[in-house]
């Protein structure tokens, strides 16, 4: 079999090569050499993006499982499998990211024997571990189907109700707990982002991002795989996204209102600029866009609104984890290029694994794989790092 070098494959290989160099620096020269983290900034980009945003971006799994199996929204059935796959890969890669960030990753199993029930981090670690196992079982039937193993599929179907309830329970716990991590830092985190409501905001944003991510992923894979896109599914998700964004926005507004910060957030300041960016991307623009029926019914409009809110919520988590500490610390933190390259490598691995899984397993409904004459019926913005045809 000859492997053709396409543009995206070259990009993928380059990202992997640079990432592997950074991996070498990380494990042979230490955290100090590979990152710009300091005693003042003990949590950097890997916690802020890989962990906080990674887990958030993988929330589509529990959202879609909840919608389809709990609330029986049958029309969304076609997106459950890709959402579960994304979540499963997301959590696996989150663990990979953790192995880079932990100072002593070889002792990660200490979580299992030295448990501190008071620690939010313990709760997050335990839930993530268990939930990854749940996702593994939710994903496993895909593999069995490929192998035509009938019996194990039946077994898993028998425990499916437990998997579904457990998955949503664990997701509720750890998605909100990622916010609770910061509750113990009232004197360090800037008041724009420190709030007793943090666990609610983190859970709320996870649900919104779960919906936005599913829209993004469906559109993107339809484009990459030359699939036919079900507009009715996207429209439904878009409607739900609009509601989720409104709920999130109202929660945030309530919080600022009750803490008497409304005037302060409107006054220009270093933190305010970042807050404005976040609020504009996550709430103002997507809500405005989705309020038009025209946008809600157009694949391009839905795609644009979702991607924008994804960036908005990513900005929110980076603000909570990085920008919000700069005033306390007294200087800026800018990740080193090696930190970025490790993150980029992990994301590239995610795209590649997704592509491989879609290639060899029946993730998207079979009858959907009609060959359209033109692979990109939608005017999807190009230039996004999707590994088109990486596996074929």
């Amino acid at each position: 079999m000859r492997i053709k070098l396409t543009f995206w494959r070259v990009v993928f290989l380059a990202i992997m090569a640079v990432g592997l160099y950074s991996t070498y620096v990380r494990y042979w020269r230490g955290l100090g050499a590979v990152s710009n983290m300091t005693d003042q900034f003990p949590w950097g980009f890997w916690i802020g993006f890989d962990c906080l945003c990674g887990v958030m971006l993988a929330a589509g799994g529990f959202c879609m499982v909840g919608a389809v199996y709990l609330f029986k929204v049958e029309s969304l059935h076609s997106v459950v499998k890709p959402a579960v796959l994304t979540a499963f890969l997301g959590y696996l890669l989150f663990i990979v990211g953790l192995l880079f960030d932990l100072g002593r990753p070889w002792f990660i199993w200490h979580q299992l024997i030295y448990m501190n029930p008071h620690s939010v981090m313990f709760e997050v670690g335990f839930c993530v571990m268990t939930y990854t196992t749940v996702l593994f079982f939710e994903f496993l039937p895909n593999v069995f189907e490929r192998l035509s193993w009938k019996a194990p599929i039946k077994w898993i179907h028998r425990i499916y109700p437990i998997l579904i309830v457990l998955g949503i329970l664990l997701s509720t716990l750890h998605q909100s707990s990622l916010g609770s991590l910061y509750l113990i830092m009232p004197s360090k985190l800037h008041p724009f982002w420190y709030s007793p409501g943090l666990p609610f905001f983190f859970f709320g944003s996870a649900v919104a991002v779960g919906l936005a991510m599913t829209i993004f992923e469906s559109t993107q894979s339809a484009k990459a795989l030359g699939r036919h896109l079900e507009l009715s599914v996207l429209v439904r998700l878009g409607g739900a996204l609009l509601i989720a964004l409104w709920v999130n926005a109202l929660l945030r507004f309530e919080d600022y209102f009750h803490r008497g910060l409304l005037r302060q957030i409107l006054r220009p300041s270093y933190e305010a600029y970042f807050l404005w960016l976040e609020l504009a991307l996550s709430f103002v623009i997507p809500i405005a866009l989705l309020s038009f029926k025209m946008v809600r019914l157009s694949p391009n409009g839905l795609y644009l609104a979702s991607v924008m809110s994804l960036f908005g919520f990513i900005a929110n988590r980076l603000n909570v984890s990085l920008i919000g500490f700069e005033t306390y610390v007294g200087h800026h933190y800018m990740p080193k290029w090696t930190e970025f390259s490790v993150t980029l490598m992990i994301i590239a691995m995610g795209f590649a694994l997704f592509r491989v899984a879609v290639q060899y397993l029946t993730i998207f409904p079979k009858d959907d794989m009609v060959h359209l004459p033109s692979p990109a019926p939608l005017g999807v913005p190009t230039g996004l790092p999707v590994l088109e045809h990486a596996g074929d």
Binding site: Y27, W28, R29, G30, L31, G32, A33, M37, T38, D39, Q40, P42, W43, Y69, L70, F71, K72, D101, L102, G103, R104, P105, F107, I108, H110, Q111, Y114, M115, N116, P117, H118, S119, V120, M121, F122, E123, G125, P161, I164, V165, I168, L169, T172, L173, S177, S180, L181, L183, I184, M185, P186, S187, K188, P196, P199
Partner: protein, 294 residues
């Protein structure tokens, strides 16, 4: 330096022991001791007595097997190899070290329980348990835990208040070596009383407060100063508040044991109802079909 500090130790030990005895006797008369810290040891640092000789830094380095030389003495900040630092800007002195909170954030956040507050007062660290998540560093309101960033098997380092010396009935290395008594070791209750006495007797010498008495629920390091501790990197009392920081997460974490069964039941209930509804709908549809064909 080492020889002089050794001499100082010899001189300092008897005087401080005797003063400790006096303290505990005077503390025992009449006044009931507060509940929490009856046996808890503490350090009282009085910046007006400090002469900036940095002998505490040296004693600390020796105690913890860390290097110490002129270059390190010149570093006016803490790090993994400098667990305590005497800051000397403009001939004003201020010591920085782990505050050994009564209810420490680091111990509360550590997922593997690598930190704990001993009943004698020190907040100690078990390197074997540590996985290196650095939540302790992020959570500490005084930013005291420091990291061995250059190490391939890094440890968190901070002042651990010489727990071995304390259990052996000795005082901390820094207090023992301090030539002026600026750092004084003793029972926390006694030191609080002594600090209050000093404030009462020489009000013009001090800013009227004991830093660490109530901050984040109280600490085992108490600071008296004529200058604002905030100018040396300490957080303001207003920012810290008097609530122990673990209470902020405790409020959420204590709900978890109740939340799990309730939420599981709700989710299971929703699943059951919607499952039942589709079953019934399917059965009805089947019946209708049967009726139609008949």
């Amino acid at each position: 330096m080492p020889s002089s500090s050794a001499v100082m130790q010899v001189i300092a030990v008897p005087s401080l022991i005797s003063s400790g005895v006096v303290e505990s006797i005077s503390g025992g008369i009449g006044e009931p001791s507060p509940k929490q810290s009856s046996m808890s040891k503490a350090l009282l640092y009085d910046s007006t007595l400090c002469i900036g000789c940095k002998q505490c830094e040296q004693a600390c380095a020796t105690q913890n097997n860390l290097p110490y030389n002129d270059a390190i003495a010149g570093e006016e900040f803490q790090s993994a190899h400098k667990l305590t630092a005497v800051l000397t800007p403009n001939d004003k002195f201020m010591r920085r070290l782990c505050m050994h909170c009564t209810d420490p954030a680091c111990a509360s956040v550590c997922p593997v329980g690598a930190f704990h507050k001993t009943k004698e007062g020190p907040v100690v660290y078990d390197v074997w348990k540590c996985i290196g998540c650095r939540y302790c560093m992020a959570a500490c309101p005084f930013s005291q835990p420091k990291y061995e960033w250059g190490s391939l098997n890094p440890r968190v380092r901070k002042c651990i208040m010489c727990p071995d010396r304390i259990t052996a009935g000795k005082q901390t290395a820094c207090a023992e070596t301090c030539p002026t008594g600026a750092t004084k070791f003793g029972e926390r209750d006694d030191l609080v009383r002594e600090a209050q006495d000093r404030l009462r007797q020489n009000p013009s010498n001090y800013l009227p407060r004991i830093y660490g008495l109530h901050e984040v629920g109280g600490t085992s390091i108490l600071i008296l100063a004529s200058v604002k501790v905030e100018d040396f990197g300490y957080p303001t009392s207003e920012k810290l508040g008097e609530t122990p920081l673990p209470a902020y997460t405790g409020r959420v974490m204590e709900r978890v044991p109740d939340f799990i069964p309730v939420w599981s039941l709700v989710l299971g209930g929703i699943y059951w109802i919607s499952h039942r509804r589709t079953e019934v709908a399917a059965a009805e549809a089947a019946e209708k079909n049967n009726g139609g064909t008949r």
